[in-house]
């Protein structure tokens, strides 16, 4: 049995006021409104600013039903300082305690940029980071295609760390599509398929994309395959521009529910037929 949870990457976008949140909603009320629509959210602010335990505790209080994934701070993935990262990792880990205590932390996402190459030094760093953050429910996302090899997958399986599956524009420089279960948790990030704006534009334009129903139906098949063997599948839409992530997340939830009669939270069972 597997649980599929669908949500968005981030929730705090002012342009969502109107299409998603009622007019006049204050930013501190966003999360409570969000929780009325989705069972899970991927917190992204934590990448830019080191989160604090009190802050995360308040977030949980404002949306008690919500399950969280949280993106690791950039000091652990993008701007790594050999002398200081351990200290940063400790700070980050401590901040998660309220979510861990309330058993609402589903995943910790370590998203590495394309400049994070598959090199011995980086591999040693990743190994150390995974040790320091263990036994958190870790997920690793690589944007550099050289990490998409059998040794990486085997290493993640040994450590029971999830390998993030991605949906990205099919443009040169992006990693290949790879859905592989390396832990009881499966994690799919949907970044949109805007080829024109992917390279060389601002973040808002990069994620300006609306998946069609046909594309969502195909994605649903990928999700169902990931669900075979996984305890939980977390699916996050990152095409946040113009609230398209919300539109797509709702629609995908509907498509999932049509199949199985559930809402956003749906169980899937692998079937087998005897010969």
């Amino acid at each position: 049995m597997s649980t599929i949870l669908i949500g968005t990457s981030g929730y705090s976008y002012t342009e969502w006021v109107g299409p998603v949140y009622p007019q006049g909603t204050k930013s501190e009320e966003y999360l409570a409104h969000y929780a009325q629509h989705f069972p899970t959210v991927e917190l992204n602010f934590s990448y830019y600013r080191m989160p604090e335990a009190t802050q995360l505790a308040l977030m949980h209080q404002s949306a008690p039903s919500l399950l969280f994934s949280i993106k690791a701070h950039q000091s652990l993935t993008h701007t790594i300082e050999p002398e200081h990262w351990r200290e940063q990792a400790t700070l980050f880990r401590r901040s998660l305690e309220p979510l861990l205590a309330a058993t609402v932390l589903e995943a910790v996402l370590l998203q590495f940029p394309s400049s994070f190459h598959y090199e011995p030094e980086r591999r040693r760093y990743l190994d150390s980071l995974l040790r320091v953050l263990s036994p958190l429910p870790l997920v690793v996302e690589f944007r550099n295609g050289n990490w998409y090899n059998n040794r990486t997958l085997d290493s993640l399986r040994e450590r029971k760390v999830a390998f993030a599956s991605l949906d990205l524009p099919s443009v040169s420089g992006n990693p290949p599509v790879m859905d592989v279960l390396t832990a009881p948790l499966a994690y799919l990030r949907l970044h949109g398929r805007n080829k024109e704006t992917w390279w060389g534009s601002d973040a808002a334009s990069r994620y300006d994309y609306l998946y069609s129903d046909k594309e969502l139906a195909a994605l649903l098949e990928r999700i169902r395959s990931l669900a075979v063997g996984a305890d939980t599948v977390l699916v996050y839409f990152n095409n946040h521009r113009r609230a398209q992530a919300v539109i797509n997340a709702r629609r995908l939830s509907q498509l999932l529910a049509q199949d199985k009669g559930g809402a956003c939270k749906t169980t899937v069972q692998a079937s087998s037929i005897s010969m």
Partner: protein, 392 residues
């Protein structure tokens, strides 16, 4: 999923025979078991289950060693009928997507999805659906990869196996292969792997970077093909669909009606040698031998014999065929003709080169030598003494 010109799908059901055993008996799913041929004191593991694999059991390992390592290990004989049936179902699924497919041994299927986008959408979407359909119909899961050629698609499934999905975009084959382990490249076995390791080559990309001179120095002229493969170059097309060749048939009509068993035996041995040579050349074994005798009074009689394992070598096929003939030849009427069918063809279950039991090794080795001579100089150059009687 997005459009991409890469249109070759490779489906790889890892440890196929063990996976089929689990599909047939789901209670085996959490058990450590392995498939091994029966009847030899020095049997080797043909297919370990996932659980057995996790415990360190590997293909080619002597069963005695595997049992010492894991006393709870359950050994099962190959179930050729079940694997045949599974292959037939897989074939029935894939042929609804494209007429261009190739079923290779041990749960490997290639599909060429060129020109199917309008019908089924991008190839990678078809790959996901095919995997799902096979899983739902027979409980077999596997790895699927989509690439611009067979070689890269196969390395794709080897990268992610036992389960998963990979899509390698056209033009990015070399960069995808670059960081893969050299052992994933077809043609790199233990010997070449050791040779390359001496040169510090452990990843496919390192081999791809060698120029012609360096490659020849390390690996000889034949190494150039391997180096090109490391660069993701593969122009091979899909082979003929083996689904259409599920039996090898030989029809023999006697110049004059015969009554004696010696003449019949000579003709049967000759036909069996010929049919089994063709079967082995395509790397198959058979599980069913069927014989139809046509009598001079216009009637016919039939007999057949089936095994749960496989018959591959001449000596086994000739022995069983004679038993079948004695069953069918139950009349005292002149015989005009016979038809021999080697059926239920299934990829030959090979033994690892390192650990072939001595007796089987001798027989296989002799058969291999005979086959090579007959293939090179023609079937008539070498035959069983009994068959000479028929020839003359």
């Amino acid at each position: 999923m997005q459009n991409d010109r890469a249109s070759i799908i490779h489906l790889n059901v890892t440890d196929f025979a063990a996976a089929v055993a689990v599909a047939k008996d789901p209670q085996l799913a959490d058990k450590a078991f392995a498939i091994a041929l029966e009847g030899s004191a020095r049997r080797v593991i043909l297919n370990p289950s996932r659980r057995a694999w996790d415990e360190g059991i590997r293909v080619g390992m002597p069963v005695s060693l595997a049992e010492r390592m894991l006393p709870s290990l359950q050994i099962l004989p190959p179930d050729v009928q079940a694997t045949n049936k599974a292959e037939q179902i897989i074939t029935s699924v894939v042929q609804t997507y494209t007429p261009h497919f190739q079923c290779d041994k041990g749960g490997h299927v290639y599909l060429d999805m060129s020109g199917t986008t309008r019908l089924f959408g991008p190839a990678v979407d078809s790959a996901v659906r095919i995997r799902k359909e096979i899983r739902e119909r027979i409980g077999l899961d596997g790895a699927v990869a989509v690439a611009s050629n067979k070689l890269v698609a196969k390395i794709g499934t080897r990268t992610i196996r036992p389960f998963g999905l990979a899509q390698i975009r056209e033009g990015e084959e070399a960069s995808f292969l670059a960081s893969q382990d050299i052992s994933l490249l077809s043609g790199v076995g233990q010997a070449i792997s050791s040779l390359l390791r001496v040169a510090g080559i452990t990843q496919i990309g390192q081999l791809a970077q060698l120029d012609d001179e360096q490659t020849i120095a390390f690996l000889g002229k034949k190494g150039l093909a391997l180096r090109d493969a490391a660069r993701g170059l593969d122009r091979s097309s899909l082979g003929p669909s083996l689904a259409k060749q599920r039996q090898v048939i030989r029809k023999v009509s006697f110049a004059e009606p015969i009554l004696d068993h010696a003449s019949l035996k000579a003709a049967l041995v000759s036909a069996a040698e010929d049919a089994s040579l063709q079967m082995r050349s395509e790397n198959f074994g058979c599980s069913l031998i069927h014989l139809t005798l046509s009598w001079s009074d216009g009637r016919s009689s039939e007999a057949s014999k089936r095994t749960k394992e496989q018959w591959i070598l001449d000596q086994d096929i000739e022995r069983v065929l004679w038993e079948v003939a004695l069953q069918a030849a139950n009349r005292r009427v002149s015989l005009l003709a016979f038809t021999l069918r080697l059926s239920d063809l299934h990829p030959a279950l090979g033994q690892s080169d390192l650990f072939i039991p001595t007796q089987l090794e001798r027989a296989s080795s002799l058969q291999g030598a005979v086959d090579r001579v007959r293939t090179k100089f023609g079937p008539a150059i070498l035959c069983h003494a009994t068959a000479l009687c028929h020839a003359h």
